[in-house]
């Protein structure tokens, strides 16, 4: 299991840690302890290797060979270097915080008028404010998780703390935008969300890498849903084709809460997403959906797990992706039903569309069931565009490339089925349509 860090690597990380702490300035002692524990865990376990089951198809050496410590950069936003539609997602619609290379953008946009009791604050502020009680959530859900989550915890510079007070219904989505801008930049965005009892909200977390830049963002998002909370969460990851994104979503659901996550991963030399949901108390509902588009030389790895620890919970997982050129996609869906989690209803599915020879998909659904009164199902499929459907469209006058575009767009659009917010859904449909257009109209054999 242990790749082991050599003496040089250990020394470099340890020295880097001291420097980072000095730069951070005074911080509460619990936070320093949390960071130190994470650093030690990282030094102990080293980087994951392809000998580990959940890293079998993802080689992290291109990542670990590069600069891994936070690179301080000027927080200015280069013009015209980000995917415009994603950059402006939700602009003018909801509260919005923007970060560049891990630091809050100077003079960030003013959001909508503040909502009574809603906290949406930079993490750097929240950790120094005892009234936020952020320490009861930050770092609490990551035990035993992988090296990059530990790296984020040790080195995180900033991020967002969201607290939706009990009973508050937040209509407009909350947007957290993390931009990786400078060439070679490494950033550690950290997001902590507490959804109070019976509250309702939608959170959109966007990670974008500047075009043509080999950036790395190593992100961790921790979410706690208190009893009866309803939270929709959309995570978008789009590094440049040379960039890297490693993301970790850790969610705990308390009784009767409802969580719906949707992931959208586009491009990137390497994108690795881990999503882990713990259904800690009874009568919860959890839905994990995702869309990925791995074209060019992109490698996108989604690892998910849903841990049924309590009775009568329902979980649904549905991921689908389009893979083309030398693209690679990895999907692993794990559902665990613990003893006592009677009445569990768990379903998962994964569908892949391969557009060209050379594209590769590794899909692995798995169920681990230790209770007897359960309903569980899973399935994974990988296929090509239906030649009959293509022919049918063409016999009606629709050109071959347009026919492909129509079928790919339809496949992806169906994957957005559960995004409830209509405005958000419309924006995502448009983004997927333009990506589909690029994939099917340029290059790619007919």
């Amino acid at each position: 299991m242990n790749a082991g860090l050599d003496a040089d690597e250990r020394a470099e990380l340890t020295a880097g840690f001291s420097q980072a702490m000095a730069r951070e300035g005074p911080a509460p002692s619990w936070l320093l302890t949390t960071r130190q524990d994470a650093l030690h865990a990282l030094l102990e376990q080293g980087w994951p290797t392809t000998k580990q089951e959940d890293w079998r198809f993802t080689d992290v050496s291109p990542l670990t060979r590069r600069e891994l410590l936070p690179v301080p950069v000027a927080a200015t936003l280069p013009k015209g270097t980000f995917d415009e539609s994603l950059l402006h997602l939700g602009r003018g619609v909801g509260h919005r915080l923007v970060f560049v290379d891990g630091r809050q953008q100077a003079g960030g946009e003013a959001g909508l008028p503040p909502l009574r009791g809603l906290v949406m604050a930079p993490l750097s502020t929240a950790i120094r404010d005892e009234s936020t009680q952020i320490g009861r959530v930050l770092g609490r859900q990551l035990q035993g998780f992988h090296a990059f989550a530990a790296l984020n915890t040790a080195f995180m510079t900033d991020g967002v703390f969201v607290h939706i007070p009990d009973g508050l219904v937040v209509e407009a989505p909350l947007f957290l935008v993390y931009l990786a801008a400078a060439e070679g930049s490494t950033s550690f965005p950290r997001t902590v969300v507490v959804a109070g009892a019976n509250s309702q909200a939608t959170i959109v977390e966007v990670h974008l890498g500047a075009d043509g830049r080999a950036t790395l963002s190593d992100a961790v998002t921790e979410i706690l849903l208190e009893p009866g909370a309803r939270l929709a969460y959309l995570g978008v990851q789009k590094p440049s084709p040379d960039g890297f994104h490693v993301g970790h979503l850790a969610v705990t659901q308390q009784a009767g809460s409802v969580f719906h996550a949707h992931s959208l991963a586009l491009d990137g030399r390497l994108v690795r997403n881990d999503a882990h949901v713990v259904l800690a108390a009874g009568d919860c509902a959890c839905q994990l959906d995702g869309i990925y588009l791995a074209a060019g030389g992109s490698h996108i790895d989604n690892q998910t797990s849903i841990d049924h620890r309590a009775p009568r919970c329902q979980s649904r997982e549905s991921y689908r992706g389009v893979v083309s050129d030398r693209g690679q996609a990895v999907w692993s869906g794990r559902a665990v039903v613990r003893p006592g989690a009677q009445g569990t209803d768990a379903r998962q599915s994964n569908r892949n569309l391969i557009l060209t020879d050379g594209a590769v998909v590794h899909a692995k659904p798995h169920l681990e069931i230790f209770a007897n009164d359960v309903k569980c199902s899973h399935g994974a499929t990988t296929g090509r565009l239906d030649p009959e459907a293509l022919f049918y469209l063409r016999t009606r006058g629709i050109g071959a490339k347009d026919a492909r575009q129509i079928l790919v767009a339809a496949f992806l659009r169906e994957g957005l089925g559960a995004v409830a917010d209509p405005a958000l859904r419309g924006e995502l449909e448009a983004i997927l349509a333009s990506r589909t257009h690029a994939l099917t109209q340029e290059g790619a054999t007919p």
């Binding site: 022919f391 469209l393 063409r394 016999t395 009606r396 629709i398 079928l407 339809a410 659009r413 169906e414």
Partner: protein
């Protein structure tokens, strides 16, 4: 004017070379004509229809197909459609996630663009489709649903005719559009096809049943057996077939050598 002229057409499945399905087929269809193509199962009717539409996987090994005097074989399926060829599928294809109206508008606009015409205004288009669907007895909600997905057999066939009515082809080949239809549906479909009967258009209906031809009286009837046309005549030929069966026509077939 000759709409379609097929001479000595030979074709085989791409995966099964040396086993011809069409074996020297000759057929001529005039503009303005409705002709019925009949023949036993497996005689090659759908294969002929698919060759005309340009399906991959069927190889033409010999012969010539002229459509309005032009060689058809150099054209892609979409080019043929834009030039006015329409195939009504024996088994219409389900396309999940693509709304029926969206699909039909994309098709119509592709054809109009080819003709140098402007795209139809979306509202005008919708009005047109709704009116055509109504006259075909097609429920309005089927227009917004994904193409053919979950449609009954009859709904799928009516949907084919709806597409034909909107796209207004010059040469329509309807492959067993009547099978699976109840008597009311048959009458509506026949009326819709009849409405498209026009001196500048040719319609080939592939059918097993005299019933359709009671409503849609053909100008010519051809019998296909063993990959060739074995008999041609007027509408009385269809009546004779109904009485005597295909064995009667098949007996007149020229002997063909079986290729092992």
């Amino acid at each position: 004017m000759v709409m379609l002229s097929i001479k000595n057409l030979q074709a085989e499945a791409a995966g099964k070379p040396g086993k011809p399905i069409l074996r020297g087929l000759n057929l001529e269809v005039e503009a303005g004509e409705v002709c019925a193509l009949m023949g036993p199962n497996g005689s090659g009717k759908s294969t002929l229809a698919n060759v005309l539409a340009g399906r991959e996987g069927i190889t033409v090994t010999a012969g010539e197909i002229l459509y309005q005097g032009k060689d058809l074989q150099t054209l892609s399926p979409e080019e043929r459609a834009r030039e006015g060829i329409f195939l009504g599928f024996q088994y219409p294809v389900e396309i999940p996630g693509v709304a029926n109206t969206y699909f039909l508008r994309a098709a119509l606009n592709a054809i109009r663009k080819h003709r140098g015409e402007e795209e139809l205004d979306p509202m005008d288009f919708l009005a047109l489709v709704k009116q055509k669907a109504k006259s075909l007895g097609l429920a309005p909600d089927l227009l917004g649903r994904p193409v053919n997905e979950g449609f009954s057999g009859g709904e799928k066939k009516r949907n084919e005719i709806l597409q034909m009515s909107v796209l207004e082809p010059r040469l329509a080949v309807l492959d067993e559009t009547d099978s699976g239809l109840d008597i009311d549906a048959l009458r509506e479909v026949a009326a819709a096809v009849q409405a498209l009967r026009d001196p500048s258009r040719a319609i080939v209906v592939i059918t097993h049943h005299q019933r359709l031809l009671d409503y849609l009286v053909p100008d010519r009837v051809h019998v296909l057996a063993g990959g060739t046309i074995v008999a041609s005549g007027d509408k009385s030929l269809a009546v004779e077939l109904e009485e005597h069966g295909y064995g009667w026509a098949g007996a007149k077939a020229p002997l063909v050598e079986e290729v092992a």
